[in-house]
Structures are given as C-alpha cells and as structure tokens.
C-alpha cells in the first residue's frame, strides 16, 4: 500500500489534505495534554507550531505518526486514517519522515548505514540503490564526506543533518520536525535551518515544532500557536507573529522575542 500519493478512492478523506486532524484529545494519565485539536496541513505547506513548553505541541506532532496513541479523535495522513484500528501503521509511517530533538541516530552504525538500514529492511531496496539514494541525500544535507563516520564522531549539527537525510531517504511526502535545533549549540543551528529552508523551497510538506521565530516568520506558510493543549491562533506568520490577536500569544511572543522582558 502506498501512502505517499493520496488515494482518491478512500471515502474517508474527501479533501486531499496532507494531514487532517479532527477533535484530537490526548491524556497522559489524568492529565489532558491535547484538548480537542482541529487542523489540517495542505500538500506543500510549511506549518510551524509554536508555543510555551507543556503546551502540547510535541505531543500533537507525535500523534501525527502515532508515536503517541491519541485518546480520541481522528488523524488522517495522506488519506489514510491512522486512528483506524485496522490500518497498517508501519506502512503508513513510511510516508512520514520524523526528525527528533535528540537526533536519535543509531550509534552502532556508520552514517551511511544509518541512512540505508530502513531503505533496505523496510522498502527492500537493493544495496546499490539504497547506497546511491543515501549518498544523494547526505550530499544534499552537506555531509557527503562523512559517510563512514560514526554518529559519536560528528557534531550535533552534523548529526541532525544525517537524521534529516535518513528520513528523506525513505522518500516521505511529509516531514515532521520536533524541535530540531533545540539540542544544538547556537553556532550549529544555522546549518540545520539552512537544510530545512532548502527542503521547504523544494515544496516538501513540513510540520515543524520550533522555538526559532525567525525561521517561522521567514519560511512558514502558516504559524500555529498552541497553549494549554489547544490551538489559540492559526494563520500566516504576518498575522500570528506580526499581529497576534490573543493576549496569550502576545505574552508568549514578548517573552520569546525579548527574553529580558519580565512582565508576565
């Protein structure tokens, strides 16, 4: 089953959103982290999710590829309803790349093996083909010369770019980024953002949880502000970051854009 191309015969999803989320709730124990999320991402869109820590933005992202099981609600990705119990979740995840805050490269494998393993094991690509695709993607993120290094020998920024290449090698139609630059030294953030910007320009559909306001303002087609498990504001970067309507958004942005500000 292919996930990358929306299936027109699927009666469940009349509109061809890349991601469609309906009334999503998520509890951790008694704690309701997501309190009814409705939103959609269109193909080719770059959507940045911003918000204070604990607002549920990472949980929302992790629900999109079911690393977290939603308590209730509907998650549809490329026409496949992931929250349907009968869906082949492994197959569905193939079309969705994920980049983590902590990189999560496989430390016992070289960079090249990291990018090849799931191509070989999941997509059953031949060795030569997998290696060619791996090298192409590593070249693309600017680490072509580090193929034989182990993750521990790379800087954080390089590791994160390998992680992006690893996800891209699966030819995903959607990329999820969970605070991809939050664990990086400040001087390494730029390299990763450059790669992400390039990806956005190529038309990749991207859902990005981030604290990089400049990136959100410059690259995103839409910015979503979350707080307390709900979406407070959703609109263009000019609207949400430039001219926020809600007090919570204003307070958050004041704090993020000027950390010395203390009138909270």
């Amino acid at each position: 089953m292919t996930v990358s191309s929306a299936n027109p015969e699927t009666s469940e999803a009349p509109a061809n959103h890349a991601v469609e989320i309906r009334d999503l709730h998520k509890y951790f124990g008694k704690n309701e982290v997501l309190r009814g999320i409705d939103f959609a991402v269109e193909p080719g869109q770059v959507v940045c999710v911003i918000g204070p820590s604990g607002s549920g933005k990472s949980t929302l992202l992790r629900c999109v590829n079911l690393l977290e099981q939603p308590t209730s609600g509907k998650v549809v990705v490329h026409g496949v309803e992931l929250t349907d119990r009968d869906v082949d979740i492994d197959a569905a995840r193939r079309g969705v790349g994920m980049v983590f805050q902590q990189f999560n490269l496989f430390p016992h494998m070289t960079v090249l093996q990291n990018v090849m393993i799931s191509q070989r094991r999941v997509l059953k690509r031949g060795k030569a083909e997998a290696e060619r695709i791996a090298r192409e993607n590593l070249e693309k993120v600017g680490i072509g010369e580090k193929c034989d290094a182990f993750p521990a020998q790379l800087s954080g920024g390089q590791q994160q770019r390998v992680a992006i290449a690893r996800a891209l090698a699966m030819s995903p139609a959607l990329m999820l980024f969970d605070e991809p630059t939050s664990a990086l030294d400040p001087e390494l953030v730029g390299d990763v953002l450059t790669v992400m910007r390039k990806l956005a320009e190529e038309g990749m559909t991207m859902l990005v949880v981030t604290h990089e306001m400049a990136f959100a303002r410059d690259v995103a087609d839409r910015v979503v502000f979350m707080d307390g498990g709900v979406i407070v504001e959703d609109g263009s970067p000019e609207q949400v970051i430039g001219a926020p309507q809600h007090e919570r958004t204003k307070t958050f942005l004041r704090r993020v854009l000027d950390p010395t500000h203390t009138d909270i």
Partner: protein, 282 residues
C-alpha cells in the same frame, strides 16, 4: 584488615588534637605500625607452625604434576571449555528470550519470566545439577540429548540464563527510548526495530558484565563432577580429584587450580578493560 587508617579514625576537624591528646597524624602512624606488627606476627607464626617439607611434598611434587600432562589440557581443560562455552551460549540465548518476555506487554509472559528468574537465581547450582541427574528417574523415557555434554551444558544453561536474563533486561532498558521511536518512525515494525536497532546496542552494553558471568559459569562447570562423569568427559575439577586420588597426592589439585586461573584472570582483566572502554565511549 584495613590499610586505610584514615577511615577507621576520623580526624578531628582543623587538625586539632583529639581526645587522646595525639595529633591525627601521630595516631595514623601508630595505627599503621600496629598493622605491620600484626602482619609480621602472623607470618612468623605460620613459618614456624607449618611443616613446609610435608606441604611441598603434598602439593608441589613435580613428577606427579608431570603425570597430569597432556590430559590436563587435551581432555580436562578442553571439556571445561566445552561445558562452559556451551552453557554460556545457550544461557545467553535463553536469557535474551526471558529478558524480552520480562519486558513484554503480554502479562503471562512477564509472569513466566519472573517466576523462572526468581526460582533459578535462588537455587544453588549444585541442586540444579542433582536435579538433572535425577530427572530421568522421575520422567521415564526422558533422555537429555548430547549425553554427558548435554547434561552438563543443560545444567549451566539453567544456572546462567536466570542471571543473564536480568543483565540483558538491564541492557535493553539502557538503550534510549528514542532509538525505538526513530526506528518505528522510519517504518520498521516492532520486531524489526528490536532485532536491528535495540538488541545490538543492548548486547554491546552488557558485554562487560556477561564476561564476568562467563567466568562464573566456567567455575560452576566444576559441578559437572556430580553428574558422575568419567573418561573422556571429565573436566578440570574432576580430573584433578581423580588424579590426586590415583597418586595419593594433592599436587594435581594445585595444578588444576593454576589452570583455572590461566583462563579466569585474563578474562577478568578483559572484562574490566571493556568496561573502562565503554565508560569512555559513551
């Protein structure tokens, strides 16, 4: 006896004289002198009391030692290694299965694993060997494959697997959760992610402690003695015991002891080296 007098006599703060009126430094000197005196007294007592000639006659007779060759290595050490390597391999595999069961989401699997681990960690190894010896009596028609080798390896597998399961469980849990998440997000199934990503890392983590477990299995292989083995199946301890009886001389026991140490000491060093390397690498 402690060689760290500092810990036995906490120095008063500021180096001020204590209740006894002696400075901490002076008391340390006295304590050390007392320890040397005790050591010297014990040495003198032993030197006078032990009949060195008789001891040497019994434990270090070269002609008896010579008689142990070449069987010491070609039969006894070889068999010790067969029993312990065989036991180790099966204990490792069974331990891995038990560790995965223990971490399984299926509750009865967890119960079975916990019960097995608790039972066989709590029993003396010798009892397990006796159990194997008597098992064919209880269950007619039961025959353990591989004869004596099979019985010995089975015993060591049972002894080792319970410990190995706990070590491997700790290893599996030490692999960061993000590894499984990254693998799953790349479309791997749970099983595939376990096999390709989590287990290889867990095994690396547990190499130093399992090396120590191998040493302990190697020593436990001496219990094969109680299976009533003979001839080509004897391992080091049984071999030492038999040879000692034959010549009514204890030299073979000493020879066998040294042979164990030839294997266990290098392995112990290897384990601590691997441990240090891992501590640096992570």
């Amino acid at each position: 006896m402690t060689d760290q007098p500092k810990t036995t006599e906490p120095a008063p703060a500021g180096g001020a004289p204590g209740r006894s009126g002696l400075s901490p430094r002076k008391r340390q000197q006295i304590s050390r002198a007392v320890q040397y005196v005790v050591l010297a007294a014990v040495a003198v007592f032993l030197a006078l009391r032990i009949e060195w000639g008789k001891l040497g006659e019994n434990f270090t007779k070269l002609d008896v030692a010579e008689k142990t060759l070449p069987d010491l290595f070609t039969v006894a050490l070889k068999n010790t290694i067969i029993y312990s390597v065989g036991g180790f391999v099966f204990a490792f595999l069974l331990g891995l299965v038990l560790a995965l069961m223990r971490l399984s989401s299926v509750r009865p699997y967890r119960w079975i694993a916990v019960a097995y681990i608790e039972i066989f960690r709590g029993l003396p190894a010798l009892l397990i060997f006796l159990l194997i010896l008597f098992l064919p009596l209880a269950i007619t028609g039961l025959e353990i494959p591989g004869g004596t080798y099979g019985q010995g390896i089975l015993g060591l597998t049972i002894v080792g697997s319970a410990y190995m399961a706990e070590t491997l469980r700790a290893g599996l849990q030490a692999v960061p959760k993000g590894q499984m998440e990254a693998a799953r997000s790349l479309g791997m199934s749970y099983t595939r992610a376990m096999v390709s990503i989590v287990i290889p890392q867990a095994v690396r983590i547990v190499i130093p402690p399992t090396t120590n477990q191998f040493v302990s299995l190697l020593k436990d292989s001496s219990l094969v003695l109680f299976l009533g083995v003979s001839g080509d199946y004897v391992e080091l301890t049984k071999f030492g015991n038999d040879t000692a009886s034959t010549y009514a001389n204890a030299t073979p026991i000493l020879v066998v002891g040294v042979t164990y140490l030839l294997v266990t000491i290098p392995l112990g060093y290897l384990a601590s080296r691997l441990e240090r390397r891992q501590a640096r690498g992570r």
